[in-house]
């Protein structure tokens, strides 16, 4: 950890999402943050904190590069923003196509490019996800930052976009004065965060591949927000895994959520969940998550602890006590 840092002026994208909104609340409570610019795709009036002091809310579609440019070199420059926290990510796996890709990936490229030549911004923080990692039987259970990424061309766009956005940020690290921090966060078990497991757990009966019960790591929204806000301060850059406080087998997560786990033949799970998706409109895709239901994969947060001082401390509030 570095010494005392100057007061920050922070811009948060994706402020309309549950994580973005909680992050803004957290930053408002942080005396080291002087001012917050919350960027949301929704109307400003719908933002719950829009009358808070030190907070400016701005509506923009991150896909519209011209408007983003005007935001960055207009309002953000006027407010002398020095840190950008990019949390905007399309959450639904059902939506695919160029527009989703533009939102997930091109917006990152565009924002970094603008930040690099911006007169006041010196730090860019990207919210990435553990979904970028490959899990397979010959890879370590504990996932370090050097762990192979899921570069499969067969991966769904939901995964490919996250990998591409992550790498888009990584390739710009160290090339200029802009400090880039990529936080690969464990799955946040909360609604509206794009959590596939959260969606999976919404059914009273959860099917698991028979014979497998891998270890997973999950995080609460509080820990996610704490990691993002902690990354504002300090001067370190790089890639950091951000694990959650809950490391447990899939079966225990089912039980703690008050669901019934039923083992089923692995080959049947994709069709079962496809039918569920069509009938109920749920988002969970077994095919996309299959490996996480067979092979253990737990984020190793040593680097984040040593460099950013982040230690997960807010376990998930499970509906069923242990």
């Amino acid at each position: 950890m570095s010494g005392p840092s100057p007061k920050r002026r922070v811009m948060v994208t994706g402020a309309g999402s549950p994580i973005g909104e909680q992050l803004v609340r957290r930053l408002l409570d942080d005396s080291r943050v002087e001012l917050i610019l919350a960027v949301t795709g929704h109307p400003v009036e719908s933002f719950p904190l829009n009358d808070a002091k030190r907070l400016t809310v701005f509506q923009v579609d991150l896909v519209k590069t011209r408007r983003v440019h005007h935001l960055m070199f207009g309002l953000a420059k006027e407010l002398e923003i020095d840190v950008v926290i990019h949390t905007a990510l399309h959450s639904s796996a059902a939506d695919e196509g160029d527009k989703v890709h533009a939102y997930n990936v091109d917006s990152v490229r565009n924002l970094i490019s603008l930040c690099e030549r911006h007169p006041t911004i010196n730090r860019f923080i990207l919210r990435s996800a553990s979904a970028v990692y490959q899990v397979q039987r010959d890879l370590p259970v504990l996932i370090g930052e050097e762990h192979p990424l899921n570069m499969s061309g067969h991966a769904p766009q939901w995964v490919r976009d996250r990998v591409e956005a992550d790498l888009t940020a990584c390739v710009r690290m160290g090339l200029g004065s802009l400090q880039i921090v990529v936080l690969r966060m464990a799955e946040v078990l909360a609604p509206g965060t794009g959590s596939q497991l959260y969606d999976y757990l919404q059914s009273p009966i959860c099917f698991q591949p028979a014979g497998f019960d891998p270890m997973i790591n999950l995080m609460s929204i509080d820990d996610a927000v704490e990691a993002l806000s902690a990354a504002c301060h300090g001067n370190e850059q790089g890639v950091f895994n951000i694990p959650g406080a809950d490391t447990l087998p899939v079966s225990v997560s089912i039980q703690r959520w008050g669901r019934i786990g039923i083992p089923a033949i692995n080959a049947l799970l994709s069709p079962i969940y496809r039918v569920r998706r069509r009938l109920t409109g749920h988002d969970f895709r077994y095919g996309m998550n299959r490996r996480w239901f067979i092979y253990s994969g737990v984020l190793d947060g040593q680097r984040a602890e040593q460099v950013l001082g982040h230690v997960p401390s807010h376990p998930i509030d499970w509906p069923v006590p242990s």
């Binding site: 039987r137 259970v141 014979g211 019960d213 270890m215 406080a245 490391t247 087998p249 190793d300």
Partner: protein
């Protein structure tokens, strides 16, 4: 696992005495928050493991083991043993032997070929007892956490070798030596005698192995393992943590030499066991 720890606990309460149950409760492991470590180990399943392995250890294979004082009681360590027998009984018996004969009780973490943790049911059960897949990252993390690894440096060629090659050590891979040097862990050689005769086979089928998701499938000449007696000999630890620095782990010459020393030490223990045992079943 298809059943929760409470069922494992109930089974342990039914079949284990208080001392054994207490032993499982007192094992050193890093609880990641829900009673499991990050690799899936759970003390209740360690107790269940003792329930399952004890009959083999006590009644069927009637294990005799020697020189437990060589097993480090704390800190990172690597147990390196010869591998044999077509079924990994040697690993299970060493696992229980270490658990029973260390104070405080330690779980030797078996490092298995990649296919083992991905076997349905068995892989999960083994993981709950402490087994991890044989990736460098897993071994590194465990040693960093002060755990004790159980490695069979011969790998699959050791366990599936034909009966005519019994007690002839196969090529020792060097990963265990590199890990031990890099992480400052002493290497404890183990000689296992008895395993070679438990399930003799004269050939193995890669095609059948592929069917079951394993490298090769041995065709044994008997349908079940024979009730041979197992002998386990723990050798004096090779103090690589005192002799080398972690940077030496990048020197292929040093790593190769250490692996050869381990192989020689294991061979001495195996020969001792062969000399001392009165017979295959005695």
């Amino acid at each position: 696992m298809p059943f929760p720890p409470s069922i494992a606990e109930a089974l342990a309460a039914l079949f284990l005495d208080d001392e054994a149950r207490l032993r499982a409760q007192n094992i050193h492991f890093l609880d990641a928050g829900h009673g499991y470590d990050a690799f899936g180990l759970h003390p209740s399943f360690v107790a269940l493991g003792e329930v399952l392995v004890s009959p083999l250890y006590d009644k069927y294979f009637r294990v005799r083991s020697f020189d437990h004082h060589h097993i480090p009681t704390t800190g990172p360590a690597v147990l390196a043993a010869n591998h044999s027998g077509n079924l990994p009984m040697d690993g299970m018996l060493i696992w229980l032997d270490v658990l029973r004969n260390t104070t405080p009780p330690r779980v030797a973490r078996p490092i298995a070929d990649h296919f083992v943790p991905s076997l349905p049911y068995l892989g999960t059960l083994f993981s709950r007892g402490g087994l991890v897949g044989g990736s460098r990252g897993n071994a590194r993390s465990l040693l960093d956490a002060g755990e004790m690894l159980m490695i069979f440096p011969e790998g699959v060629p050791g366990i599936v070798k034909s009966f005519k090659k019994r007690y002839q050590l196969q090529t020792f891979r060097e990963g265990h030596a590199e890990l031990a040097i890099r992480h400052g862990a002493p290497i404890v050689p183990i000689g296992v005698v008895g395993g070679e005769e438990q399930l003799p086979s004269f050939f193995s089928s890669r095609r059948l192995g592929k069917l079951f998701g394993i490298p090769t499938f041995p065709i044994p000449v008997v349908p079940v393992p024979l009730p041979v007696r197992y002998y386990l000999y723990y050798g004096e630890p090779i103090p690589v943590h005192e002799e080398f620095t972690s940077a030496d782990a990048d020197d292929p010459r040093i790593v190769g030499e250490v692996a050869e020393r381990v192989k020689a030490a294991v061979n001495v223990l195996v020969q001792r066991g062969l000399d001392e045992r009165p017979g295959v079943f005695q």
